[in-house]
């Protein structure tokens, strides 16, 4: 876990060296960059408006005009695929922004304060950790209503404990070290100590954990979309595109196949990246 902190070279150079040596890291990073690029530049990349309906041209097979064919409303599937990267990445971003800070804050507080606070916070963490994550997320969105934010909330609601545990363990270790004792001696206390000095040291391992979690979040988000619990129509979203395609899967199979493939590739990219990172941290796996 401490590989990052013990290296003496600049992070950028370290990253470059590592990337050049690990094919999975490079491939994973490349896939994610491409998906990101698609999401950001969707309006320039997409050949059509993703919500433009031409009901006269519905369910068309791939052709010169529509490379991946059209869906049940005559919308261009390629364009929807490109735009579909947006809600997926946005949801991932929301989940990350919601869950990591909550988990880390709880972990740091527990680790630093110790005693009763630690015991009760960790007890709650343990309880939430034992919950069936996916199930609760589905139930939450079904009950509270579909939408991007509810989906993110649902996934974040049950994913924070891993971060809390990790942060607590590291904070507890730090609390015994000279570093914090020194900081306290020069009068740094309270939130400033916790978030100015403890947080930066806890963050790197949380970031790695995040990389490992991302593909799971993407799959869960796609599952939500598939069940009709994702973003609202007419916004293109991969999971709900698969669901739309199931209606005609036996005749126009490509309508469901292509967005599913996009999910697979993106999730695969994150997994490769995480795999590469793991190899860096654990040389035994090389």
């Amino acid at each position: 876990m401490s590989a990052l902190t013990t290296l003496q070279i600049s992070p950028a150079r370290w990253l470059y060296l590592r990337l050049s040596r690990s094919p999975s890291l490079t491939t994973g990073a490349a896939i994610i960059l491409i998906v990101l690029f698609m999401a950001i530049f969707a309006p320039w990349l997409a050949p059509y408006d993703p919500t433009l309906q031409e009901t006269a041209n519905r369910l068309m097979a791939p052709s010169q005009q529509h490379w991946l064919g059209t869906d049940a409303f005559g919308r261009d599937i390629l364009s929807r695929l490109i735009y579909g990267a947006r809600p997926t990445l946005l949801l991932v971003l929301f989940v990350v922004l919601l869950m990591a800070p909550v988990g880390i804050t709880i972990g740091i507080l527990a680790g630093y304060l110790g005693g009763f606070v630690e015991r009760s916070l960790m007890r709650i963490t343990d309880i939430v950790m034992s919950f069936p994550r996916l199930l609760l997320a589905f139930a939450f969105v079904a009950i509270m209503g579909p939408g991007l934010l509810n989906g993110a909330l649902a996934l974040a609601l049950t994913s924070w404990p891993a971060y809390a545990r990790q942060a607590r363990a590291e904070t507890a270790k730090l609390a015994k070290s000279d570093y914090l004792a020194a900081a306290e001696m020069v009068g740094i206390k309270g939130p400033r100590l916790l978030f100015g000095h403890v947080l930066p040291l806890v963050l790197p391992s949380a970031v790695i954990r995040l990389a490992l979690d991302l593909s799971g979040i993407i799959l869960a988000a796609a599952g939500l979309g598939f069940l009709g619990l994702g973003v609202r129509p007419p916004t293109a979203e991969w999971g709900s595109m698969v669901a739309d395609g199931t209606q005609v899967i036996f005749d126009q199979w490509w309508i469901a196949a292509t967005p599913g493939f996009a999910i697979l590739i993106t999730s695969f990219g994150f997994n490769l990246l995480a795999d590469g990172l793991r190899d860096l941290m654990d040389p035994r796996n090389d």
């Binding site: 695969f268 997994n271 941290m281």
Partner: protein
């Protein structure tokens, strides 16, 4: 670093902070039960809170929009919605403990009997999946570790990465398309062909056992055929984690002193792996398989939806779409409890194994 491998599975509890193990080694079963009960209570509280925060009105869901106001009021009374929230929660808990989860709005039946009917189907599917998944996963993991860096290792790595990355509902759809619609190898969605469904008496609720007991070879084959596709799809999910962790644990053991000693004495690699290492890492493997099993119970939601498998997962999704609060609450609680129970039991079992080895 083992934890990282398990990323799509829930956190294994046997790692750095032993919880249940510590408690169970300390002895008092009551303490262990307390923690278990608290987790369940937490789960009940969270699910209950969700259903009551919801904008969905269960009484209106029950009577529909054409019904008169007095019919609607009667339904509210029947559901106990006129009571204050804490009273509703306590009443719910009290009834849940005695196995009464209220009446489902979408089936008109007691939720408990709905669950009793659907849960065996899910168990059957998840069990078949975990058997297939562990068999392939362990084989793949062991083979990969023994030929580290070789072709099998690369294949194993690719398969596990693929298993982690593939959206399971999509894989299921494509399988149905290929093996049912195109090749006609597999039967369609559902659990048993309509020919057998009403001639075979449901005794245990497990289609394989029921059809076996019925003595009709055709029925048993039909049940097996219906099970094959969804079980394989679901197994794919479990296989990824299992093969990976098996490989990683064997590799980490290979560097241990006892292994090096055995090798120095002239033991072959396969002997070392099968005789020395596997018994040592049995606890870890058991944990990962049990956790994979627990996550399959929950992952069945999507697979069952795709394959129209009449299990608790599909029951839950239909309940979700009809705003059937008692059913959502009951099914989440039951699956969640199994999940929690499996987690807890695994920790106890692992602690036992470690204890045994320490002696």
């Amino acid at each position: 670093m083992q934890k990282a491998v398990l990323r799509s599975l829930p956190e294994p509890h046997n790692s750095r902070q032993p919880r249940w193990r510590e408690l169970s080694l300390l002895g008092p079963l009551s303490k262990w039960l307390m923690s278990f009960a608290m987790t369940l209570l937490g789960l009940a509280l969270v699910t209950f809170a969700m259903t009551r925060l919801s904008p969905i009105d269960p009484a209106l869901q029950m009577v529909g929009d054409h019904a008169s106001q007095s019919t609607y009021q009667a339904a509210r009374l029947e559901l106990g919605l006129d009571q204050p929230l804490p009273v509703q929660f306590l009443r719910y808990l009290q009834q849940a403990v005695s196995g009464n989860f209220g009446q489902s709005i979408s089936t008109g039946q007691p939720v408990a009997s709905d669950i009793a009917r659907t849960f065996p189907a899910t168990l059957e599917l998840a069990t078949a999946a975990i058997i297939i998944g562990s068999l392939i996963g362990l084989t793949l993991g062991i083979a990969a570790a023994m030929r580290q860096g070789g072709l099998i290792d690369a294949i194993a790595r690719f398969v596990s990465l693929f298993g982690y990355s593939v959206p399971i509902f999509w894989l299921g759809l494509l399988m149905l398309l290929l093996f049912y619609a195109r090749l006609h190898w597999a039967p369609g969605p559902g659990r048993l062909d309509v020919m057998f469904q009403y001639t075979v008496k449901p005794v245990t609720g497990f289609a394989l056992i029921d059809t076996w007991m019925s003595g009709k070879a055709g029925a048993f084959r039909d049940a097996l055929a219906h099970l094959a596709l969804p079980a394989i799809v679901l197994a794919f999910h479990a296989l990824a984690g299992i093969s990976r962790l098996t490989r990683a644990s064997i590799l980490s053991e290979l560097g241990q002193e006892y292994v090096l000693t055995a090798r120095a004495k002239g033991a072959s690699l396969s002997r070392v792996v099968f005789v020395h290492i596997l018994p040592n890492i049995a606890g870890t493997l058991l944990t990962v398989i049990a956790l994979a099993y627990a996550s399959l119970l929950e992952g069945a939601v999507l697979t069952e939806t795709v394959f129209a498998w009449p299990g608790i997962g599909r029951y839950l999704t239909t309940a979700m779409f009809s705003g059937d609060m008692p059913a959502i609450l009951g099914a989440t609680l039951v699956v969640g409890s199994c999940f929690v129970l499996l987690n807890a039991l695994t920790d106890v079992a692992v602690a036992r194994i470690h204890k045994g080895q320490a002696r």
